[in-house]
Amino acid sequence: MKKKKVANDFSASSLKILRKEIWRHREVYLMMIPALVATFIFRYIPIYGISMAFQNVKLGDKFGQSEWVGLYHFTRFFKGAWCGRVIKNTLIISVLSILTFPLPLMLALLLFNTNSVPLKKIAQTATYLPYLLSLVLVVSIINVFCAGDYGFINIILHRLGMSKINFFGTPTLVYPLYIISGIWSSCGYNAVVYLGALASVDNDQIEAAMIDGAGKLKRIWYIQLPTILPTVMTLLVLNVGNMFAVGADKMILLQTDLNLSCSEIISTYVYKTGVEGAQYGFSTAVNLFQSVISVVMLLSINKLSKKLTGIQVI
């Protein structure tokens, strides 16, 4: 009743209507308040805290209001010994991760095209299962598998008469450990997204193709793949765009004193200098450097993709 009256009241100015609408939704606004406040405190105030990248932060200072030092932290980082190394390691990890990008897609195609329903169910459950394990557990499993003398891999190698591998003492081996465990824990999860996209494959098209004598491989190549291409491109853009933003959580668990030259990446460096080393300004500066490069990369990859394929993510 009330709504009708509002709608029919042509003489009322639109501002008045708006005010009425806002008042009508007062309960809805109240429901948003906790999330608005929490987001402001824990998301927006830290963004303001980025100013610390240009300040000399001491513990007693007010938040984000320390003595300004300009680009001091940035020049210190770029001239420092770790700069080149952490950037190189971050890029190696992300390029290797992107090379594994087709694997979930292939798994999804396998799951979608198998002619055995029980096998599909079992394989999907099995490949998804590792995703539930925490990173700590994944790394624990790596630890027990690759342990020096009593790890499974070394025991088998020993039995086969080959020499043992020192997984945690050889710096470069941290790359395969990171990448392979990554495939193990998230391939099945990522495949689910493609499976969802594959669900929209047009059955009439498949039947028409079958009548025309198209084999399974042709149906995969000419019908299924084109159907999920937008999904694939979206995820590819996101992956390439986020290349520079490798998280610290897993790497910090894989680090040992011996493999640091290959396992120190930007985010672990930020964590160590900041949280453990208490160089707050410096650490924020390094983090800012990483975020800026990431955002620029994401935006430019997005633009490139829009130009080439017409698909954009943001």
């Binding site: 109240l30 906790p34 105030i45 805290g49």
Partner: protein, 308 residues
């Protein structure tokens, strides 16, 4: 009717002259799937059988498919470690509290953002989604928490994580597509306000998305490690993940070439065995609920993939 007939005819025709290449492809697909499934499961299986085997059998490489020299000494040892129980208790408490917090903060907001008639809806949406792309980073948040005096208190793990934008968007999408406007209008005529509608009608109709929401959040809180490492120092506050990490990182990083004493060898073997048991016990809760919840996990991915 006609459609079903054609489908039937097609299937019949195709079955008659299935190409050899198709049969071959099926064999390849199924073989690869079997390999993938085994590769995914084997590491866990190996840890499981090792945890109940004899240490000498493990070192000799006899434990490959089945346990050898079955015994439960690793588990006895593990249950005697007090720290594991403290960590387990803490993780249960933190996860429960944090999930309640997430629910109270995120769900009403997701519902609010799903009301199409809400003035300023788009602006509020930007306010939340912007934080997915820009963040202050590790240190500003860390200092903020320190300023609040929450370091070495569970609050640091329970409160800030309630700003879970990804889940917010998923739940909002669900509300928007599944709770019809007509239903709300009908309830309004009966004198129901927005909040009452949310509690009495929208929530009970959204059990599927609630399951997804809680599974995602439980997994996130239960598995969180870096935050706990940053904020919690006291032994009686540590989470299960911290305890597992401490156990699994001990004594295994280098090849112990200089180990001659049989006692040290024995100690290392026992430690290794303990690690197997710890992995199994901490993976167990999720592995048990997983088969029942699998469809919700998959559903969550699908809802999340719906583009606005």
């Amino acid at each position: 009717m006609a459609k079903r007939n054609t489908a039937f005819l097609v299937r019949k025709a195709v079955r008659k002259k299935r190409k050899f290449s198709d049969v071959l492809l099926d064999v390849i697909i199924n073989t690869l799937l079997v390999i993938a499934a085994i590769a995914a499961i084997y590491p866990l299986w190996n840890v499981l059988i090792s945890s109940v085997s004899n240490t000498n059998a493990i070192s000799n490489g006899e434990v490959i498919l089945w346990p050898v020299g079955f015994n439960l000494s690793a588990y006895e040892k593990m249950f005697a470690e007090k720290q594991i129980w403290v960590g387990f208790r803490n993780s249960v408490i933190y996860t429960t509290a944090a999930c309640i917090m997430d629910f109270v903060v995120t769900l009403p907001c997701a519902y609010a953002l799903s009301r199409r008639s809400l003035p300023g809806r788009k602006g509020f949406m930007y306010y939340f989604t912007l934080t997915m792309y820009f963040s202050g980073g590790t240190i500003p948040l860390f200092l903020l928490i320190s300023k609040l005096g929450w370091v070495d208190t569970p609050l640091a793990l329970i409160i800030p994580s309630c700003t879970c934008v990804f889940e917010l968007v998923i739940v909002r999408n669900f509300f928007e597509h599944n709770i019809s406007e007509a239903l709300f209008d009908a309830a309004r005529i009966d004198g129901m306000g927005f909040f009452k509608f949310f509690v009495k009608i929208a929530l009970p109709l959204s059990k599927a998305i609630l399951a997804v929401f809680f599974l995602y959040r439980i997994q996130a809180h239960w598995n969180a490690y870096l935050g706990a490492r940053m904020y919690l120092y006291s032994p009686n506050l540590k989470t299960l993940q911290q305890v597992i990490q401490a156990i699994s990182a001990k004594l295994d990083t280098s090849l112990m070439e200089d180990m001659t004493s049989a006692e040290i060898v024995y100690a290392v073997q026992q430690k290794q065995l303990l690690k197997y048991a710890v992995v199994i016990v901490s993976a167990l809760p999720l592995a048990i609920i997983y088969p029942f919840m699998q469809r919700y996990f998959v559903q969550g991915v699908m809802v999340g993939a719906v583009k606005e």
